[in-house]
Amino acid sequence: MAWTRKILRIDLTSGTCTAEALNMAWAADYLGQRGLATKYLSEEVDPTCDALGPDNKLIMTTGPLTGTMASTGGRYSVVTKSPLTGLVACSNSGGFIGAEMKNAGWDMIIFEGKSPEPVYLYVENDTAELRSAAGLWGKSVWETDELLHKTHQDPLLRVACIGRSAEQGCLYAAVVNDLHRAAGRSGVGTVMASKNLKAVAIRGTKGVGNVKDPKGFMDAVRAGKQVLADNAVTGQGLPTYGTQVLMNVINGIGAMPTRNMREVQFDGAHKISGEAMHEPRKSDGKPNLTTNAGCFGCTIACGRISTVDRGHFSVENKPEYWGNSGGLEYEAAWALGSDTGVDDLDAITYVNFVCNEDGIDPISFGATVAAAMELFEEGAITTADTGGIDLSFNRADTLVKLAELTAKGEGFGKDIGLGSKRLCEKYGRPELSMTVKSQEFPAYDPRGIQGMGLAYATSNRGACHLRGYTVASEVLGIPVKTDPLATEGKAELVKAFQDATAAVDSSGLCVFTTFAWSMENIAPQVDAACEGDWSVDKMLEVGERIWNLERDFNMRAGMTADQDTLPKRLLKDAANVGPAKGRVNDLDKMLPEYYALRGWTADGQITPETRARFGL
């Protein structure tokens, strides 16, 4: 079965913690994690509710393979309605807390209502209780983690919590677990703060033993691990260079969004790349990268553990930042670096530390700083607005200062915490916001990677690379190489990636396995663990059902199909250099075909036939 069949429901208004049975009919249709929690959200929450009001719910959810011996089986997600986008939010994280939740005997924790005072949830196997967080409110993620470990005197306690940015209303605040891992996107941490919920601390010792076919599961898992080990990407590339190996690749093909996506190549890319993280510093001879790191059960270990040069201005006289901490992933390095024009590896590593320390999504933060820099350059923002800070592009000191202010919700950091769309609207230049459905772009310019334009425009959580990562095919040749500048066939490619990813995100596994695994490797692991028939076709059907359910939630929340678009800059202003020179994103050539493939109307509505096919 792999599911524990148990949900923990927390009524924050009344302060009660109640166990209930998992809806297994829904599990059969939605598998777990992203899909199953979205089903609960869709059934229990009015999509038109105020995302930061008590009627919204926050769901922490595992997949059936979370906590098992499957490689990368440590994933969990936070599902809620997003305050950034007003749409469904599902943010996925690794680390260890997902497996801990499962080992404590829970598939899912549903938080509803709002606590009258700050609280945290303490779970030790079957015992669950809300405790006062009076001494934690106002503390950073790192301080909260340390205080909870001291309080409970248990070094194996796993903590997920919010930092000060969430408390101060930053609309893209994350829920950080295990100090350096985050359910990062769409402001799920802001929702948690709105409920006066500071942290979730879990200790689980039960194990995850209820697997349908133990021998079959071990065989499938062993075969899968061998594939990961033998694959050059998952066996060598990701452990050695992490996701940051992409910095030079994406820059090389001319799809590196630079200075608020005005340009498509960054001349400082080589200074902040995965390779640069290996280079010895002149000051102490040590590289930025100390070691790689893995989440629970992971045999890839793409995580980065880094240090900042102690002599760097960002950490001068701040010994608390001199040690090893969570280092740069590609998305963070891009947003903090290329998109702001900052090529100072130590500065962006420090800012990444601050993002972890106070629970800030570094993608949305960096992209919002980039928008602020362009507003400043255009004269829409002046030093009178910023408290004297010079917001010119390329300034590492500005980036550092804005991170510190946003972390604490102080000064101009309050404006940065609005996100790019609201910031640009506030200062009268909405066209300078590089967002889809109010969420900031990740690190691939859709003028140079055409399919990603369609993936962004149709993503159910706003601009996002992890809802349909066609970069794998269009740039990296996984599973097959397609032309990044072509539009033909991209509708089908995007849909295939979206559906498969939704299924993987509902399993408890990491989507990075799909650089080596196909669904032919994943389905047998799910099938051996879970009751029911989990063939490749069933997995893809479940993925497509989840996609339609998310779309349905968004439509009921008030989203319209005309929001399936991109900023005018990407549709009208051609790339100025590189292979994509002269190109815009040709979304209009892909979107109609995509709607048709989805079984939607020409104006993006889910048809009754499609609803019936998926039981919506």
């Binding site: 694959n231 050059a232 990407v233 060598q236 590339g237 990701l238 050695t240 260079y241 992490g242 996701t243 940051q244 190996v245 992409l246 030079n248 690749v249 090389g252 093909i253 001319g254 080589h270 995965g274 390779e275 793409c302 992933e329 590609y330 998305e331 690379h465 992890l466 990562y469 970069v471 794998a472 740039v475 990296l476 040749g477 996984i478 190489k481 032309d483 990044p484 989507v511 990075f512 650089f515 590189g578 292979p579």
Partner: protein
């Protein structure tokens, strides 16, 4: 003709001593192929997964075609991915 070779990730070890971070330049006869350039520096062809000529991906047959011209930049990666 003069071309620039850029090697990334685990292929950086094939750069000659004194190369500038990722890049080196060399003289090649007119009509040379990308594979011949890789051979010049001992880069195993089977490790050259992504081969870009001026940012554009070269498919396998194109790597044996006499495409290179003066001023070309050939950038090469082993299998990599991220996200």
């Amino acid at each position: 003709m003069r071309v620039r070779l850029e090697l990334y990730a685990s292929l950086m070890g094939y750069l000659p001593a004194g190369a500038n971070r990722h890049a080196t330049e060399c003289e090649l006869p007119d009509g040379s192929t990308a594979h011949e350039l890789l051979d010049r520096f001992g880069v195993p062809r089977d490790k050259a997964h992504l081969v870009l000529r001026n940012g554009v991906f070269l498919h396998a047959p194109e790597r044996d075609a006499p495409l290179l011209v003066d001023g070309d930049v050939i950038a090469v990666w082993p299998p990599v991915a991220g996200g």
